[in-house]
Symmetry: D2
Protein backbone atom coordinates (compact mmCIF):
# COMPACT_ATOMS: atom_id res chain seq x y z
CA UNK A 1 0.00 0.00 0.00
CA UNK A 2 1.33 3.41 -0.89
CA UNK A 3 2.06 5.87 1.91
CA UNK A 4 -0.29 8.86 1.99
CA UNK A 5 1.98 10.97 4.25
CA UNK A 6 5.72 11.03 4.91
CA UNK A 7 7.47 12.11 8.13
CA UNK A 8 7.43 15.82 7.27
CA UNK A 9 3.72 15.71 6.42
CA UNK A 10 2.96 13.89 9.68
CA UNK A 11 4.90 16.45 11.73
CA UNK A 12 3.12 19.31 9.95
CA UNK A 13 -0.23 17.62 10.67
CA UNK A 14 0.68 17.36 14.36
CA UNK A 15 1.78 20.97 14.56
CA UNK A 16 -1.58 22.07 13.15
CA UNK A 17 -3.89 19.75 15.08
CA UNK A 18 -2.00 19.08 18.32
CA UNK A 19 0.12 22.22 18.86
CA UNK A 20 0.30 21.60 22.62
CA UNK A 21 2.34 18.43 22.25
CA UNK A 22 3.80 18.41 18.74
CA UNK A 23 7.15 19.90 19.85
CA UNK A 24 7.78 16.80 21.97
CA UNK A 25 7.76 14.38 19.03
CA UNK A 26 9.96 13.69 16.01
CA UNK A 27 9.13 11.14 13.30
CA UNK A 28 12.36 9.22 12.67
CA UNK A 29 11.12 6.89 9.95
CA UNK A 30 7.89 5.79 8.36
CA UNK A 31 7.11 2.88 6.06
CA UNK A 32 4.12 0.83 4.96
CA UNK A 33 4.69 -1.45 7.95
CA UNK A 34 5.25 1.03 10.73
CA UNK A 35 6.73 4.16 12.19
CA UNK A 36 9.50 5.17 14.60
CA UNK A 37 8.77 8.17 16.79
CA UNK A 38 11.04 9.86 19.31
CA UNK A 39 9.87 11.80 22.36
CA UNK A 40 11.93 14.54 23.95
CA UNK A 41 11.42 14.16 27.69
CA UNK A 42 10.54 17.40 29.46
CA UNK A 43 10.19 18.15 33.18
CA UNK A 44 6.41 17.87 32.94
CA UNK A 45 6.82 14.22 31.90
CA UNK A 46 8.83 13.23 34.95
CA UNK A 47 8.03 11.63 38.27
CA UNK A 48 10.17 11.93 41.42
CA UNK A 49 13.49 10.18 40.77
CA UNK A 50 13.50 11.45 37.19
CA UNK A 51 11.62 8.54 35.65
CA UNK A 52 9.12 9.19 32.85
CA UNK A 53 5.49 9.10 33.99
CA UNK A 54 2.93 6.55 32.84
CA UNK A 55 0.73 9.17 31.14
CA UNK A 56 3.74 10.43 29.16
CA UNK A 57 4.47 6.89 27.91
CA UNK A 58 0.77 6.42 27.13
CA UNK A 59 0.85 9.63 25.09
CA UNK A 60 3.93 8.48 23.16
CA UNK A 61 2.33 5.10 22.36
CA UNK A 62 -0.93 6.75 21.27
CA UNK A 63 0.74 9.33 19.01
CA UNK A 64 3.06 6.72 17.45
CA UNK A 65 0.28 4.32 16.39
CA UNK A 66 -2.01 7.19 15.40
CA UNK A 67 0.62 8.64 13.07
CA UNK A 68 1.42 5.18 11.66
CA UNK A 69 -2.26 4.90 10.69
CA UNK A 70 -2.44 8.42 9.25
CA UNK A 71 0.62 7.64 7.13
CA UNK A 72 -1.52 4.95 5.47
CA UNK A 73 -4.93 6.61 5.23
CA UNK A 74 -4.04 10.30 5.01
CA UNK A 75 -4.85 13.24 7.29
CA UNK A 76 -7.98 12.16 9.18
CA UNK A 77 -8.07 14.34 12.28
CA UNK A 78 -11.20 12.66 13.55
CA UNK A 79 -9.87 9.13 14.07
CA UNK A 80 -10.52 8.41 17.76
CA UNK A 81 -8.69 6.13 20.21
CA UNK A 82 -11.25 3.63 21.53
CA UNK A 83 -9.05 1.20 23.47
CA UNK A 84 -5.51 0.97 24.80
CA UNK A 85 -3.78 -1.85 26.66
CA UNK A 86 -0.35 -0.94 28.01
CA UNK A 87 2.23 -2.94 29.96
CA UNK A 88 4.91 -1.06 31.87
CA UNK A 89 7.89 -3.41 31.78
CA UNK A 90 10.84 -1.54 33.29
CA UNK A 91 11.40 1.85 34.88
CA UNK A 92 12.97 4.11 32.23
CA UNK A 93 16.35 5.53 33.32
CA UNK A 94 16.21 9.18 34.41
CA UNK A 95 16.87 11.88 31.85
CA UNK A 96 16.78 9.72 28.74
CA UNK A 97 14.66 10.27 25.66
CA UNK A 98 12.20 7.60 24.54
CA UNK A 99 11.71 5.91 21.16
CA UNK A 100 8.49 4.20 20.03
CA UNK A 101 8.44 1.56 17.31
CA UNK A 102 4.86 1.16 16.07
CA UNK A 103 3.38 -1.27 13.57
CA UNK A 104 -0.09 -1.55 12.09
CA UNK A 105 -1.89 -4.87 12.55
CA UNK A 106 -5.25 -4.06 10.99
CA UNK A 107 -6.52 -1.24 8.83
CA UNK A 108 -10.19 -1.97 8.40
CA UNK A 109 -13.21 -0.01 7.28
CA UNK A 110 -14.21 1.13 10.77
CA UNK A 111 -11.36 0.01 13.05
CA UNK A 112 -7.57 0.23 12.92
CA UNK A 113 -5.30 -1.63 15.34
CA UNK A 114 -1.60 -1.26 15.99
CA UNK A 115 0.94 -2.05 18.64
CA UNK A 116 4.13 -0.43 19.80
CA UNK A 117 7.26 -1.06 21.82
CA UNK A 118 8.79 1.83 23.76
CA UNK A 119 12.55 1.95 24.32
CA UNK A 120 14.68 4.20 26.47
CA UNK A 121 18.07 5.44 25.25
CA UNK A 122 20.81 3.23 26.62
CA UNK A 123 18.59 0.23 27.42
CA UNK A 124 18.21 -2.65 24.99
CA UNK A 125 15.05 -4.20 26.46
CA UNK A 126 11.74 -2.33 25.98
CA UNK A 127 10.39 -0.21 28.85
CA UNK A 128 6.75 -0.52 27.77
CA UNK A 129 4.45 -2.26 25.29
CA UNK A 130 1.05 -1.05 24.16
CA UNK A 131 -1.68 -1.93 21.68
CA UNK A 132 -4.28 0.59 20.54
CA UNK A 133 -7.53 0.58 18.59
CA UNK A 134 -8.89 3.55 16.65
CA UNK A 135 -12.34 4.16 15.27
CA UNK A 136 -12.18 5.58 11.76
CA UNK A 137 -14.98 7.96 10.75
CA UNK A 138 -17.12 6.94 7.74
CA UNK A 139 -15.69 8.05 4.43
CA UNK A 140 -12.16 8.54 5.74
CA UNK A 141 -10.57 5.50 4.09
CA UNK A 142 -9.04 5.79 0.68
CA UNK A 143 -7.99 2.90 -1.50
CA UNK A 144 -8.31 -0.80 -0.80
CA UNK A 145 -8.13 -2.01 2.81
CA UNK A 146 -5.92 -4.67 4.33
CA UNK A 147 -8.51 -6.66 6.22
Amino acid sequence: MDLQMDGAALEAFMATHFPQVSDDFRVRSVSSGGLVLEMRVRDAHLRPGGTVSGPAMFALADVAVYLAILAQIGPVALAVTTNCGIDFLRRPPAGQGLRAEARILKLGRVLAVGDVLIFSQGLEAPVARASLTYSIPPGARRGPGMG
Copy 2:
Protein backbone atom coordinates in the same frame (compact mmCIF):
# COMPACT_ATOMS: atom_id res chain seq x y z
CA MET B 1 -10.50 -3.88 56.50
CA ASP B 2 -9.64 -0.64 58.28
CA LEU B 3 -8.61 2.32 56.16
CA GLN B 4 -4.95 3.30 56.61
CA MET B 5 -5.38 6.78 55.09
CA ASP B 6 -8.31 9.17 54.70
CA GLY B 7 -8.87 11.77 51.98
CA ALA B 8 -6.75 14.44 53.65
CA ALA B 9 -3.85 12.01 54.18
CA LEU B 10 -4.06 10.89 50.55
CA GLU B 11 -3.98 14.47 49.28
CA ALA B 12 -1.01 15.27 51.53
CA PHE B 13 0.78 12.17 50.20
CA MET B 14 0.17 13.33 46.61
CA ALA B 15 1.40 16.85 47.36
CA THR B 16 4.66 15.41 48.71
CA HIS B 17 5.32 12.70 46.14
CA PHE B 18 3.63 14.02 42.99
CA PRO B 19 3.79 17.82 43.34
CA GLN B 20 3.58 18.33 39.56
CA VAL B 21 0.05 16.98 39.35
CA SER B 22 -1.41 17.02 42.85
CA ASP B 23 -3.17 20.36 42.36
CA ASP B 24 -5.32 18.82 39.65
CA PHE B 25 -6.95 16.24 41.94
CA ARG B 26 -9.36 16.30 44.88
CA VAL B 27 -10.38 13.19 46.86
CA ARG B 28 -14.16 13.44 47.25
CA SER B 29 -14.72 10.26 49.27
CA VAL B 30 -12.86 7.14 50.31
CA SER B 31 -14.10 3.88 51.81
CA SER B 32 -12.98 0.29 52.18
CA GLY B 33 -14.53 -0.46 48.80
CA GLY B 34 -13.34 2.44 46.72
CA LEU B 35 -12.58 6.09 46.13
CA VAL B 36 -14.05 9.04 44.24
CA LEU B 37 -11.54 11.47 42.75
CA GLU B 38 -12.21 14.68 40.86
CA MET B 39 -9.91 16.22 38.28
CA ARG B 40 -9.85 19.90 37.51
CA VAL B 41 -9.39 20.17 33.75
CA ARG B 42 -6.65 22.59 32.70
CA ASP B 43 -5.66 23.84 29.25
CA ALA B 44 -2.77 21.35 29.14
CA HIS B 45 -5.33 18.52 29.34
CA LEU B 46 -7.31 19.62 26.31
CA ARG B 47 -7.34 18.69 22.66
CA PRO B 48 -8.65 20.91 19.85
CA GLY B 49 -12.40 21.36 20.32
CA GLY B 50 -11.94 21.48 24.08
CA THR B 51 -12.23 17.76 24.75
CA VAL B 52 -10.04 16.15 27.43
CA SER B 53 -7.06 14.23 26.05
CA GLY B 54 -6.55 10.49 26.39
CA PRO B 55 -3.36 10.86 28.46
CA ALA B 56 -5.22 13.14 30.91
CA MET B 57 -7.96 10.51 31.37
CA PHE B 58 -5.31 7.81 31.73
CA ALA B 59 -3.65 9.89 34.46
CA LEU B 60 -6.96 10.34 36.30
CA ALA B 61 -7.68 6.60 36.17
CA ASP B 62 -4.19 5.74 37.36
CA VAL B 63 -4.20 8.19 40.27
CA ALA B 64 -7.71 7.14 41.37
CA VAL B 65 -6.95 3.42 41.63
CA TYR B 66 -3.49 4.09 43.10
CA LEU B 67 -4.96 6.23 45.88
CA ALA B 68 -7.73 3.66 46.51
CA ILE B 69 -4.98 1.08 47.12
CA LEU B 70 -2.90 3.39 49.32
CA ALA B 71 -5.99 4.06 51.42
CA GLN B 72 -5.96 0.34 52.23
CA ILE B 73 -2.25 -0.41 52.60
CA GLY B 74 -0.83 2.92 53.74
CA PRO B 75 1.71 5.28 52.13
CA VAL B 76 3.76 3.06 49.80
CA ALA B 77 5.33 5.43 47.28
CA LEU B 78 6.97 2.58 45.44
CA ALA B 79 3.90 0.72 44.22
CA VAL B 80 4.29 0.63 40.42
CA THR B 81 1.67 0.46 37.66
CA THR B 82 2.38 -2.65 35.61
CA ASN B 83 -0.68 -2.82 33.33
CA CYS B 84 -3.57 -0.64 32.24
CA GLY B 85 -6.45 -1.40 29.93
CA ILE B 86 -8.60 1.61 29.08
CA ASP B 87 -11.71 2.02 26.92
CA PHE B 88 -12.64 5.47 25.69
CA LEU B 89 -16.43 5.38 25.46
CA ARG B 90 -17.60 8.88 24.64
CA ARG B 91 -15.98 12.24 23.94
CA PRO B 92 -16.15 14.32 27.15
CA PRO B 93 -17.97 17.63 26.67
CA ALA B 94 -15.64 20.63 26.45
CA GLY B 95 -14.82 22.56 29.61
CA GLN B 96 -16.25 20.09 32.11
CA GLY B 97 -14.43 18.56 35.08
CA LEU B 98 -14.07 14.81 35.36
CA ARG B 99 -14.90 12.41 38.21
CA ALA B 100 -13.37 8.94 38.68
CA GLU B 101 -15.09 6.23 40.69
CA ALA B 102 -12.52 3.55 41.55
CA ARG B 103 -12.91 0.21 43.28
CA ILE B 104 -10.38 -2.37 44.41
CA LEU B 105 -10.83 -5.90 43.07
CA LYS B 106 -7.75 -7.59 44.51
CA LEU B 107 -5.24 -6.64 47.16
CA GLY B 108 -2.72 -9.45 47.15
CA ARG B 109 0.78 -9.95 48.46
CA VAL B 110 2.51 -8.82 45.26
CA LEU B 111 -0.27 -7.50 43.00
CA ALA B 112 -3.22 -5.16 43.46
CA VAL B 113 -5.96 -4.72 40.84
CA GLY B 114 -8.69 -2.11 40.59
CA ASP B 115 -11.01 -0.66 38.03
CA VAL B 116 -12.56 2.74 37.50
CA LEU B 117 -15.31 4.54 35.63
CA ILE B 118 -14.72 8.13 34.52
CA PHE B 119 -17.63 10.54 34.29
CA SER B 120 -17.91 14.03 32.88
CA GLN B 121 -20.00 16.69 34.60
CA GLY B 122 -23.41 16.88 32.96
CA LEU B 123 -23.29 13.45 31.34
CA GLU B 124 -24.86 10.40 32.99
CA ALA B 125 -23.08 7.70 30.99
CA PRO B 126 -19.35 7.11 31.64
CA VAL B 127 -16.81 8.64 29.24
CA ALA B 128 -14.13 6.04 29.95
CA ARG B 129 -13.45 2.76 31.75
CA ALA B 130 -10.10 1.47 32.91
CA SER B 131 -8.57 -1.38 34.89
CA LEU B 132 -5.11 -1.19 36.40
CA THR B 133 -2.62 -3.55 38.03
CA TYR B 134 0.06 -2.47 40.49
CA SER B 135 3.11 -4.33 41.72
CA ILE B 136 3.54 -3.93 45.46
CA PRO B 137 7.12 -3.94 46.76
CA PRO B 138 8.04 -6.67 49.29
CA GLY B 139 7.27 -5.73 52.87
CA ALA B 140 4.81 -2.99 51.96
CA ARG B 141 1.62 -4.80 52.98
CA ARG B 142 0.32 -4.54 56.51
CA GLY B 143 -2.33 -6.77 58.00
CA PRO B 144 -4.14 -9.65 56.33
CA GLY B 145 -4.77 -9.48 52.57
CA MET B 146 -7.97 -10.00 50.64
CA GLY B 147 -6.78 -12.51 48.10
Copy 3:
Protein backbone atom coordinates in the same frame (compact mmCIF):
# COMPACT_ATOMS: atom_id res chain seq x y z
CA MET C 1 -34.33 1.48 26.68
CA ASP C 2 -36.76 -1.39 26.26
CA LEU C 3 -35.36 -4.91 26.29
CA GLN C 4 -35.53 -6.64 22.91
CA MET C 5 -34.98 -10.16 24.33
CA ASP C 6 -35.63 -11.76 27.72
CA GLY C 7 -33.74 -14.67 29.31
CA ALA C 8 -35.73 -17.35 27.51
CA ALA C 9 -35.23 -15.65 24.13
CA LEU C 10 -31.49 -15.30 24.79
CA GLU C 11 -31.16 -18.99 25.70
CA ALA C 12 -33.10 -19.99 22.59
CA PHE C 13 -30.82 -17.79 20.50
CA MET C 14 -27.76 -19.51 22.00
CA ALA C 15 -29.18 -22.97 21.41
CA THR C 16 -29.68 -22.12 17.73
CA HIS C 17 -26.44 -20.27 17.01
CA PHE C 18 -23.97 -21.78 19.50
CA PRO C 19 -25.25 -25.34 20.07
CA GLN C 20 -21.77 -26.56 21.11
CA VAL C 21 -21.70 -24.43 24.25
CA SER C 22 -25.27 -23.37 25.01
CA ASP C 23 -25.87 -26.20 27.48
CA ASP C 24 -23.17 -24.78 29.75
CA PHE C 25 -24.95 -21.46 30.31
CA ARG C 26 -28.11 -20.28 32.08
CA VAL C 27 -29.39 -16.69 32.04
CA ARG C 28 -30.35 -15.89 35.64
CA SER C 29 -31.58 -12.33 35.13
CA VAL C 30 -31.55 -9.63 32.52
CA SER C 31 -32.35 -5.93 32.73
CA SER C 32 -31.66 -2.74 30.82
CA GLY C 33 -28.43 -2.34 32.79
CA GLY C 34 -26.99 -5.83 32.65
CA LEU C 35 -27.23 -9.58 32.80
CA VAL C 36 -26.36 -12.42 35.20
CA LEU C 37 -25.17 -15.63 33.58
CA GLU C 38 -24.26 -18.92 35.26
CA MET C 39 -21.86 -21.48 33.86
CA ARG C 40 -22.01 -25.15 34.72
CA VAL C 41 -18.42 -26.30 35.06
CA ARG C 42 -17.65 -29.50 33.13
CA ASP C 43 -14.51 -31.63 33.09
CA ALA C 44 -13.39 -30.05 29.83
CA HIS C 45 -13.22 -26.68 31.64
CA LEU C 46 -10.85 -27.87 34.35
CA ARG C 47 -7.11 -27.72 34.89
CA PRO C 48 -5.14 -30.07 37.17
CA GLY C 49 -6.23 -29.45 40.76
CA GLY C 50 -9.80 -28.94 39.64
CA THR C 51 -9.57 -25.21 39.00
CA VAL C 52 -11.45 -23.67 36.06
CA SER C 53 -9.23 -22.88 33.07
CA GLY C 54 -8.56 -19.40 31.75
CA PRO C 55 -10.20 -20.09 28.37
CA ALA C 56 -13.37 -21.27 30.16
CA MET C 57 -13.53 -18.02 32.14
CA PHE C 58 -12.84 -16.04 28.97
CA ALA C 59 -15.74 -17.86 27.28
CA LEU C 60 -18.07 -17.07 30.19
CA ALA C 61 -17.12 -13.37 30.14
CA ASP C 62 -17.56 -13.17 26.37
CA VAL C 63 -20.96 -14.88 26.35
CA ALA C 64 -22.25 -12.79 29.27
CA VAL C 65 -21.47 -9.41 27.71
CA TYR C 66 -22.56 -10.59 24.25
CA LEU C 67 -25.97 -11.66 25.58
CA ALA C 68 -26.31 -8.42 27.58
CA ILE C 69 -25.86 -6.53 24.31
CA LEU C 70 -28.26 -8.76 22.37
CA ALA C 71 -30.87 -8.20 25.07
CA GLN C 72 -30.72 -4.51 24.10
CA ILE C 73 -30.39 -4.63 20.33
CA GLY C 74 -32.09 -7.89 19.43
CA PRO C 75 -30.80 -11.09 17.80
CA VAL C 76 -27.75 -9.98 15.82
CA ALA C 77 -25.74 -13.13 15.25
CA LEU C 78 -23.01 -11.24 13.44
CA ALA C 79 -21.79 -9.00 16.24
CA VAL C 80 -18.08 -9.81 16.59
CA THR C 81 -15.74 -9.58 19.60
CA THR C 82 -12.91 -7.24 18.66
CA ASN C 83 -11.09 -6.80 22.00
CA CYS C 84 -10.99 -8.37 25.44
CA GLY C 85 -9.00 -7.43 28.50
CA ILE C 86 -9.22 -9.92 31.35
CA ASP C 87 -7.67 -9.98 34.84
CA PHE C 88 -7.49 -13.28 36.68
CA LEU C 89 -7.77 -12.28 40.34
CA ARG C 90 -8.02 -15.49 42.36
CA ARG C 91 -7.95 -19.20 41.63
CA PRO C 92 -11.57 -20.46 41.60
CA PRO C 93 -12.19 -23.25 44.13
CA ALA C 94 -12.39 -26.71 42.57
CA GLY C 95 -15.77 -28.08 41.56
CA GLN C 96 -17.77 -24.87 41.93
CA GLY C 97 -19.98 -23.26 39.30
CA LEU C 98 -19.27 -19.72 38.12
CA ARG C 99 -21.53 -16.66 37.88
CA ALA C 100 -20.91 -13.66 35.61
CA GLU C 101 -22.40 -10.23 36.30
CA ALA C 102 -22.19 -8.16 33.11
CA ARG C 103 -23.09 -4.54 32.45
CA ILE C 104 -23.17 -2.49 29.27
CA LEU C 105 -21.06 0.67 29.21
CA LYS C 106 -21.60 1.80 25.63
CA LEU C 107 -24.03 0.84 22.92
CA GLY C 108 -22.97 2.86 19.92
CA ARG C 109 -23.61 2.74 16.21
CA VAL C 110 -20.59 0.58 15.39
CA LEU C 111 -19.14 -0.45 18.77
CA ALA C 112 -20.57 -1.85 22.01
CA VAL C 113 -18.55 -2.11 25.23
CA GLY C 114 -19.33 -3.96 28.43
CA ASP C 115 -17.56 -5.29 31.47
CA VAL C 116 -18.11 -8.24 33.75
CA LEU C 117 -17.15 -9.65 37.13
CA ILE C 118 -16.90 -13.42 37.52
CA PHE C 119 -17.69 -15.03 40.87
CA SER C 120 -17.23 -18.58 42.12
CA GLN C 121 -19.84 -20.20 44.36
CA GLY C 122 -18.79 -19.89 47.98
CA LEU C 123 -16.36 -17.00 47.46
CA GLU C 124 -17.41 -13.39 48.01
CA ALA C 125 -14.56 -11.68 46.15
CA PRO C 126 -14.53 -11.91 42.32
CA VAL C 127 -12.25 -14.49 40.65
CA ALA C 128 -11.91 -12.54 37.41
CA ARG C 129 -12.75 -9.23 35.72
CA ALA C 130 -13.04 -8.60 32.01
CA SER C 131 -14.04 -5.88 29.58
CA LEU C 132 -15.04 -6.60 26.00
CA THR C 133 -15.69 -4.65 22.81
CA TYR C 134 -17.95 -5.81 19.97
CA SER C 135 -18.24 -4.55 16.44
CA ILE C 136 -21.86 -4.25 15.38
CA PRO C 137 -22.60 -4.83 11.69
CA PRO C 138 -24.22 -1.96 9.75
CA GLY C 139 -27.99 -1.96 9.95
CA ALA C 140 -28.17 -4.12 13.07
CA ARG C 141 -29.09 -1.38 15.55
CA ARG C 142 -32.73 -0.60 16.18
CA GLY C 143 -33.99 2.46 17.94
CA PRO C 144 -31.96 5.30 19.44
CA GLY C 145 -28.44 4.58 20.79
CA MET C 146 -27.01 5.36 24.19
CA GLY C 147 -23.82 7.11 23.14
Copy 4:
Protein backbone atom coordinates in the same frame (compact mmCIF):
# COMPACT_ATOMS: atom_id res chain seq x y z
CA MET D 1 20.22 -16.56 28.31
CA ASP D 2 20.44 -20.33 27.92
CA LEU D 3 17.27 -22.25 27.19
CA GLN D 4 16.14 -24.49 30.07
CA MET D 5 13.77 -26.58 27.92
CA ASP D 6 13.61 -27.43 24.22
CA GLY D 7 10.52 -28.22 22.13
CA ALA D 8 10.42 -31.89 23.12
CA ALA D 9 10.74 -31.06 26.83
CA LEU D 10 7.98 -28.45 26.55
CA GLU D 11 5.62 -30.93 24.83
CA ALA D 12 6.37 -33.57 27.47
CA PHE D 13 5.64 -30.99 30.21
CA MET D 14 2.29 -30.19 28.57
CA ALA D 15 1.36 -33.85 28.23
CA THR D 16 1.97 -34.34 31.97
CA HIS D 17 0.38 -31.19 33.32
CA PHE D 18 -2.29 -30.34 30.74
CA PRO D 19 -3.31 -33.71 29.27
CA GLN D 20 -6.74 -32.39 28.23
CA VAL D 21 -5.31 -29.97 25.70
CA SER D 22 -1.75 -31.07 24.94
CA ASP D 23 -2.73 -33.05 21.84
CA ASP D 24 -3.91 -29.84 20.18
CA PHE D 25 -0.49 -28.17 20.25
CA ARG D 26 2.89 -28.68 18.56
CA VAL D 27 6.01 -26.64 19.34
CA ARG D 28 7.52 -25.74 15.96
CA SER D 29 10.54 -23.80 17.19
CA VAL D 30 11.91 -22.29 20.36
CA SER D 31 14.72 -19.81 20.94
CA SER D 32 15.87 -17.34 23.58
CA GLY D 33 13.65 -14.72 21.99
CA GLY D 34 10.44 -16.63 21.45
CA LEU D 35 8.47 -19.66 20.40
CA VAL D 36 6.29 -20.80 17.51
CA LEU D 37 3.35 -23.00 18.42
CA GLU D 38 0.81 -24.63 16.10
CA MET D 39 -2.74 -25.55 17.04
CA ARG D 40 -4.67 -28.31 15.35
CA VAL D 41 -8.23 -27.04 15.02
CA ARG D 42 -10.86 -29.51 16.20
CA ASP D 43 -14.66 -29.37 15.97
CA ALA D 44 -14.88 -28.22 19.60
CA HIS D 45 -12.93 -25.08 18.63
CA LEU D 46 -15.33 -24.01 15.90
CA ARG D 47 -18.23 -21.59 15.69
CA PRO D 48 -21.02 -21.76 13.10
CA GLY D 49 -19.52 -21.10 9.68
CA GLY D 50 -16.39 -23.01 10.62
CA THR D 51 -14.45 -20.11 12.12
CA VAL D 52 -12.26 -20.69 15.18
CA SER D 53 -13.83 -19.47 18.44
CA GLY D 54 -12.43 -16.67 20.58
CA PRO D 55 -11.77 -18.96 23.57
CA ALA D 56 -9.76 -21.31 21.33
CA MET D 57 -7.58 -18.41 20.14
CA PHE D 58 -7.23 -17.19 23.73
CA ALA D 59 -6.05 -20.69 24.72
CA LEU D 60 -3.50 -20.76 21.90
CA ALA D 61 -2.11 -17.34 22.88
CA ASP D 62 -1.93 -18.33 26.56
CA VAL D 63 -0.17 -21.64 25.93
CA ALA D 64 2.31 -20.08 23.47
CA VAL D 65 3.53 -17.35 25.82
CA TYR D 66 3.47 -19.70 28.82
CA LEU D 67 5.70 -22.21 27.03
CA ALA D 68 8.01 -19.44 25.82
CA ILE D 69 8.51 -18.46 29.48
CA LEU D 70 9.00 -22.04 30.66
CA ALA D 71 11.65 -22.49 27.97
CA GLN D 72 13.59 -19.76 29.78
CA ILE D 73 12.95 -20.54 33.44
CA GLY D 74 12.38 -24.30 33.41
CA PRO D 75 9.35 -26.41 34.36
CA VAL D 76 7.35 -24.21 36.76
CA ALA D 77 3.84 -25.61 36.73
CA LEU D 78 2.60 -22.96 39.11
CA ALA D 79 3.15 -19.86 37.01
CA VAL D 80 -0.29 -18.25 36.77
CA THR D 81 -1.82 -16.02 34.09
CA THR D 82 -2.83 -12.75 35.76
CA ASN D 83 -3.78 -10.59 32.75
CA CYS D 84 -4.52 -10.97 29.06
CA GLY D 85 -5.37 -8.35 26.48
CA ILE D 86 -6.41 -9.76 23.12
CA ASP D 87 -7.44 -8.11 19.84
CA PHE D 88 -9.37 -10.15 17.30
CA LEU D 89 -8.29 -8.69 13.97
CA ARG D 90 -9.79 -10.87 11.25
CA ARG D 91 -12.07 -13.89 11.09
CA PRO D 92 -9.88 -16.98 10.55
CA PRO D 93 -10.81 -18.92 7.41
CA ALA D 94 -12.78 -22.11 8.11
CA GLY D 95 -10.91 -25.36 8.53
CA GLN D 96 -7.41 -23.94 8.74
CA GLY D 97 -4.85 -24.60 11.49
CA LEU D 98 -3.47 -21.69 13.51
CA ARG D 99 0.12 -20.68 14.28
CA ALA D 100 1.19 -18.50 17.24
CA GLU D 101 4.44 -16.55 17.24
CA ALA D 102 5.24 -15.55 20.82
CA ARG D 103 8.04 -13.40 22.22
CA ILE D 104 9.04 -12.58 25.78
CA LEU D 105 9.19 -8.91 26.72
CA LYS D 106 10.01 -9.16 30.42
CA LEU D 107 11.20 -11.95 32.64
CA GLY D 108 11.32 -10.46 36.11
CA ARG D 109 11.48 -11.80 39.64
CA VAL D 110 7.71 -11.91 40.15
CA LEU D 111 6.18 -11.08 36.73
CA ALA D 112 6.78 -12.25 33.19
CA VAL D 113 5.23 -10.54 30.14
CA GLY D 114 5.03 -11.69 26.55
CA ASP D 115 3.05 -11.00 23.44
CA VAL D 116 1.95 -13.09 20.50
CA LEU D 117 0.60 -12.84 16.98
CA ILE D 118 -1.77 -15.55 15.73
CA PHE D 119 -1.82 -16.47 12.05
CA SER D 120 -4.15 -18.69 10.05
CA GLN D 121 -2.83 -20.94 7.31
CA GLY D 122 -3.24 -19.24 3.95
CA LEU D 123 -3.56 -15.71 5.29
CA GLU D 124 -0.56 -13.38 5.52
CA ALA D 125 -2.01 -10.83 7.95
CA PRO D 126 -2.45 -11.88 11.61
CA VAL D 127 -5.93 -12.94 12.80
CA ALA D 128 -5.30 -11.98 16.43
CA ARG D 129 -2.82 -10.28 18.76
CA ALA D 130 -2.50 -10.82 22.49
CA SER D 131 -0.29 -9.82 25.40
CA LEU D 132 -0.17 -11.81 28.63
CA THR D 133 1.25 -11.40 32.12
CA TYR D 134 2.20 -14.28 34.42
CA SER D 135 2.88 -14.28 38.13
CA ILE D 136 5.92 -16.42 38.93
CA PRO D 137 5.90 -18.16 42.32
CA PRO D 138 8.74 -17.32 44.75
CA GLY D 139 11.83 -19.42 44.25
CA ALA D 140 10.92 -20.48 40.73
CA ARG D 141 13.43 -18.33 38.87
CA ARG D 142 16.89 -19.68 38.15
CA GLY D 143 19.85 -17.64 37.03
CA PRO D 144 20.02 -13.90 36.39
CA GLY D 145 16.84 -12.08 35.31
CA MET D 146 16.37 -9.79 32.36
CA GLY D 147 14.57 -6.94 34.06
